[in-house]
């Protein structure tokens, strides 16, 4: 596997994730974009593992476990918000703002 293309893809994926988080309003889409960023980082780990050592691959497993947990918690929060507000748009989630 070639190092540079892998890293390039990873960078593109990450940037897509950031852009999605910044510009989309739907909470589920934003959530998927966060996952995209996580997986971009995973790709970097795997790619660099051949240079640095097996540690990167081990770390990917950790990230996946944490991402799974995070997905469970995040989706249940979004579900709870939907039940409460009948919407998953972030624009409606501004309870902390005064007035």
């Amino acid at each position: 596997m070639l190092l540079s293309p892998a890293l390039a893809i990873s960078a593109v994926l990450f940037t897509l994730g950031v852009a999605g988080v910044l510009f989309r309003r739907n909470a589920i889409v934003i959530f998927m974009c966060v996952e995209l960023m996580l997986n971009a980082v995973n790709l970097t780990f795997v790619a660099l593992a051949q240079v640095i050592g097996v540690g990167g691959q081990v770390f990917v497993l950790f990230v996946m476990a944490v991402a799974a947990a995070e997905a469970a918690v995040g989706l249940s929060i979004i579900l709870a918000v939907y039940r409460h507000k009948q919407s998953v748009s972030l624009q409606n989630m501004n309870l902390l703002k005064d007035g």
């Binding site: 988080v21 910044l22 972030l90 989630m93 501004n94 309870l95 902390l96 703002k97 005064d98």
Partner: protein, 659 residues
């Protein structure tokens, strides 16, 4: 530890403390208990007196030169400051121990009768026991801080007992006045302690007196300052000029309290302190002169006020201030024995006088109570001719009167004469002492006069109490006259403690106290008067007393006196004396009002309300609100915005880290 019954010394204060705890518990839980409270209250004191006698007799058979010190526990171990909670048993503290527990026991017994009807009976005895505990800590303490605990404690009890009938605002005010005046004195005591520790590195009496001659230059600024600050403490506690004004007001408390605290024991603590530190005072001639001068001046000043008071207790109060002045004249002169001797005899005859006046007030109060008349039961103008109704009280008070006037061979004669002789002798070396002696002599004349006046107006002439009340005037019960009789006996025989060698006496007290007073006495010029001049001085003193008594007897006409309600206001000089030289008014104008003005107008309205409340507290709140208002635009509540800021932040950090 000596392995003798002297080791039991801790029992004396412990018993008093036990009495306080038990009576205090009863006062809180069952305030109407009387018999049990009396048994505990007086019982612990009698037991403490028994302990004192046992300790005294055993200590006497040991007759050690050095004090016996008992260290119970380490109290303040801080760096180089090591203070143990320790008691010191020596000749001086034993004399005080016997006076406090002995006279204290008699006054506790008297109180059983005097306070019988009072609703605060248990509380009263709890306070009285607590007072005795602190007084014993004061006289037994082996270091300045331990003594200071007792010193403050007796001040607290004095405050509590002056304001014992606190529902009357005047009594509560009198208590506060005493407390505040004493606080001024305590400030002096504390500064003196700081300076002693600073210059000698210890606060134990033994160490301080051992190091003082080498650590400090005699007559130097340091020792003079230390002793003057100590004396400031004494002027507060022992009611000397300029802090004496609280003592006459302290008569607001129950009369036995006046006898115990404000005549016999607590107010003599200052004299005890000077006698204890006799070495320090002997090293500072200026301070000694100040002590003697203030004492002589106070003696004369208070005696003039006593001439024109109508309240029987107030006369005695000013008399106490005056007699305390005598004691300070003695200890300032270096005649420590004479001072302590007068302290002891004064405790006997002044306790007798106060308790006697208590009997009189008790009788007057009951008589007025029968007819529901609200007259002043303490005003001598309402009394007169009481000797017919209470012969025992009258006879015993006459003994005390002649003793305080200084007629031989009563207790007061020997002690007062010794003080005047000592002052006169010192006058041969330093002429200023001749002035002090003159003050003392005039005071003796005035003392004889006002005391005879008190007796004349109270017990002789026609009765002015009122027709309806007269049949209800009776002698007090035996529980009150009994202690009076014992004190009368002590007043008769008290002089035997220290009959001077002039009358082929043994001067027992003088030799007994020698181990304590010797270090100071060695530094003071020793003047021996010739036998003939000593006799001459005695003659002058006796003549003065006789002139005072006879003069009052001849000049004053009790028959012409009218009851308080119809009495006209005094005129001229008498009016000034009646109003106590307007000292309270002067203090009020000089200190109280400016302080009140400063507190109200500056400290309260400016500093507290405007600076602290306005600028600091509300200002901080206003500042926080303004800051919040300025920053609120950052918080949009839109998650998108936060994420954008977050991303920008991360990019900036990356740029800083990589670039």
């Amino acid at each position: 530890m000596t392995g003798t019954p002297v080791d039991l010394i801790w029992l004396a204060p412990a018993l008093a403390l036990l009495g306080f705890v038990l009576n205090g518990t009863l006062a809180l839980t069952r305030p109407n208990t009387k018999t049990l409270v009396s048994v505990i209250g007086a019982g612990v004191l009698l037991a403490a007196f028994a302990v004192a006698v046992v300790v005294f007799s055993n200590f006497r058979s040991l007759h050690p030169e050095d004090p016996v010190i008992y260290r119970y526990w380490s109290w303040i171990p801080v760096g180089t400051l090591q203070v143990d909670f320790a008691f010191q048993v020596d000749q001086l503290s034993l004399v005080m121990l016997l006076i406090v527990t002995g006279v204290g026991s008699l006054i506790h017994l008297f109180s059983i009768g005097y306070m019988k009807e009072d609703p605060g009976y248990a509380r009263y005895f709890a306070y009285l026991n607590l007072f005795v505990f602190f007084m014993l800590v004061l006289v037994l303490g082996a270091s300045f801080p331990v003594m200071f605990v007792g010193w403050e404690g007796v001040g607290l009890c004095s405050y509590l007992l002056i304001g014992f009938w606190f529902t009357d605002a005047a009594n509560a005010t009198a208590g506060r006045k005493a407390f505040i005046m004493n606080r001024i004195g305590d400030f002096g005591f504390m500064v003196a302690m700081f300076m002693i520790f600073w210059s000698m590195g210890s606060l134990d009496f033994a160490t301080v007196f051992e190091h003082a001659p080498t650590a400090l230059a005699p007559g130097g600024a340091a020792i003079t300052a230390i002793t003057l600050f100590l004396f400031l403490g004494c002027t507060g506690k022992s009611a000397q000029i300029p802090l004496y004004t609280w003592l006459p007001d302290a008569m607001a408390g129950p009369t036995p309290v006046s006898a115990l605290i404000h005549a016999a024991t607590m107010v003599t603590a200052g004299v005890y302190l000077v006698a204890r530190c006799n070495l320090l005072f002997a090293m500072a001639p200026v301070s000694s002169a100040v002590v003697a001068g203030v004492g002589a001046l106070t003696a004369l000043f208070a005696a003039t006020i006593a001439l024109k008071q109508w309240d029987i207790k107030r006369v005695l109060a000013y008399s106490t201030v005056s007699q305390l002045g005598y004691m300070f004249l003695a200890v300032g002169t270096g005649a420590m024995t004479a001072g302590i001797f007068h302290l002891a005899t004064h405790a006997f005859f002044k306790a007798l006088l106060f308790l006697g006046s208590g009997s009189v007030i008790f009788a007057m109060h009951r008589a007025y109570h029968h007819t529901h008349v609200h007259e002043d039961a303490q005003d001598m103008r309402n009394m007169g001719g009481l000797a017919r109704y209470m012969p025992w009280t009258a006879a015993l008070m006459w003994i005390a009167t002649l003793a305080i006037a200084g007629l031989p061979p009563l207790a007061g004669f020997f002690s007062k004469d010794e003080i005047l002789t000592a002052a006169h002798a010192r006058g041969h070396v330093q002429a200023i002492w001749l002035v002090f002696w003159g003050f003392g002599l005039v005071t003796a004349l005035l003392t004889a006069f006002y005391m005879t006046r008190l007796m004349l107006y109270t017990f002789h002439g026609p009765n002015r109490t009122g027709e309806a009340e007269r049949p209800h005037l009776h002698e007090a019960p035996w529980i009150m006259t009994g202690p009076l009789a014992v004190l009368g006996l002590l007043t008769l025989l008290g002089g035997l403690l220290n009959v001077p060698e002039l009358y082929r006496g043994s001067a027992w007290l003088h030799h007994w106290l020698e181990p304590v007073t010797a270090p100071g006495a060695a530094l003071i010029p020793d003047v021996h008067l010739s036998r003939s001049s000593e006799w001459l001085l005695v003659g002058i003193a006796v003549l003065t007393a006789v002139v005072g008594v006879v003069g009052a007897w001849r000049l004053l006409k009790p028959a012409e006196l009218v009851p308080a309600k119809q009495a006209p206001e005094e005129r001229g000089f008498a009016r000034i004396l009646r109003h106590k030289w307007y000292v309270d008014e002067i203090y009020d104008a000089l200190f109280v009002r400016p302080l009140m003005w400063l507190s109200r107008e500056i400290l309260w309205k400016r500093v507290d309300q405007q600076a602290i409340d306005g600028a600091a507290v509300n200002g901080a709140a206003r500042g926080a609100r303004a800051l919040g208002w300025a920053n609120r635009w950052l918080q949009t509540g839109q998650v998108g915005t936060y994420v954008a800021v977050f991303v920008v932040g991360v990019l900036l950090l990356l740029w800083r880290a990589l670039g």
